[in-house]
């Protein structure tokens, strides 16, 4: 019961991940992303060691298909995992184990992988891909969010007892190995994808201010002054 997209921006080379799920705090299980190296996300019955290991292997120079084989060789429960990998060139690979709960599957496209499990059906994956491709000139974080919204609109997660709400969601985009460019999360909410849009849109208003005040504090205004400007009070 998770749907995700990992992708590389063809214009900038930025790497990103979007995810929504029924489980709590999913953004805390998304460490498999490193600027200039690649992205790996393991889900379903996840293996937490997979994503850091895959990043090490991608950094060594192995391609996604070979990394996937090495993860398989390393894991006796590989058939319960769902894994997607995109490398620094946008090449993708994916695995949806036979032991994941239905409906589960993935789609590998140009520079992205859309994947999920315990979903309403294959239309969810198609809608994630379509949402991502809808405005290819947009910033990667907005494309990732549009992909998640596409997946939710197409029915999202459906478990044994019917539709499952999204309780947590996250979008991460990296351009530099030292810190994330975009890193927004909702950890526990009744409509986490909608809440994630609220957080991302609010963050986008502050993004430049937060970055520049750290880079040159000597010319920075206070956040109180900045908020006053945002609200049209000054």
């Amino acid at each position: 019961m998770t749907y995700s997209i990992i992708a590389r921006c063809p214009h900038t080379g930025r790497l990103g991940l979007g995810i929504a799920t029924f489980s709590i705090g999913v953004g805390g299980r998304c460490e498999g992303i490193l600027a200039g190296v690649g992205i790996c996300k393991t889900q379903a019955y996840t293996n937490r060691g997979n994503d850091p290991l895959a990043i090490e292997l991608l950094a060594q120079g192995f391609g996604p298909a070979h990394v996937l084989r090495m993860l398989e060789q390393n894991d006796p429960n590989h058939d319960y995992r769902q894994i997607a990998i995109v490398d620094r060139e946008g090449n993708g690979a994916a695995h949806t184990g036979a032991g994941t709960r239905p409906w589960s599957g993935h789609k590998i496209g140009a520079g992205y992988v859309a994947f999920g499990n315990v979903l309403a059906g294959p239309q969810v994956i198609e809608a994630i891909a379509a949402g991502f491709m809808n405005e290819p000139e947009e910033a990667l974080e907005l494309r990732l969010l549009a992909a998640l919204e596409g997946g939710r609109k197409a029915g999202g997660q459906v478990g044994a007892e019917g539709h499952l709400i999204e309780r947590s969601a996250a979008v991460r985009v990296v351009a530099d190995p030292d810190y994330p460019d975009i890193d927004v999360r909702v950890d526990l909410h009744d409509d986490a994808v909608a809440e994630l849009r609220r957080v991302l849109e609010e963050f986008k208003r502050y993004e430049v201010f937060y970055r520049e005040r750290g880079r040159d504090p000597s010319t920075a205004i206070t956040q109180a002054q900045f908020v006053a400007r945002l609200e049209g009070r000054a």
Partner: protein, 235 residues
Amino acid sequence: MTYTILGRCQRTGRLGIGIATFSITVGRYCYGVKSMTGVTVSQAFANERNNALALRLLAQGFGAGSVLSQLMANDRYFDYRQIGVIDRSGTSAAYTGPRTLGWSGHVTGDNHVAFGNGLVGPEVADAIAAGFMAKPDADLEHRLLMGIEAGRDAGGQGTRQEHKAERSAALRVYSQHPYADIDLRVDLHATAVEELRRVWSEYKKYETYYRDRERNPRGAIGQEAFMATLRAAEA
């Protein structure tokens, strides 16, 4: 305007961060923690490269005091920064630049740093440290949360005339793995510390279930079935 506790568990060696602030999505500044290596946060007018650089220095074997000196020597704007560091042996170091805003300062001790800026006064930093030390045998994530809550209860951010809301908060703890044990965030909320307690309390109910289904998927029940057992236990 931010208040933070860095902590190391003296029993287990686990390392963690608790943080609350007016800025949104503060959890994105909390990647300066790594298993068996150390923990650091740069705040106030934060230098975005400091946390990654400090972790590399800690991994090379430099102690907390030396790491702090090197960060300061590397940064032309260091007088705007506030930095805390704990190394893997539990030695701590902290710096509060004279150009950080409002009341700002830090309290350091073995295995902890309590620090903040834009605060009501020094009683907030003292309360954070006391909250962290109140139950030394509790889990590190619980102690970090109690530290933050004590800071809030002592007045938190702003001035004695006007409180500044905590809009985001985060809790991260590492043990021996290359991924976090605990990694919870509230990115945009009117009372982020209270919300972080709610998220943490709920997550704790699932923590063992989430871990065990990953390690042994063959024996795992579905999350809906697990929630039914939770509801039965609470009834």
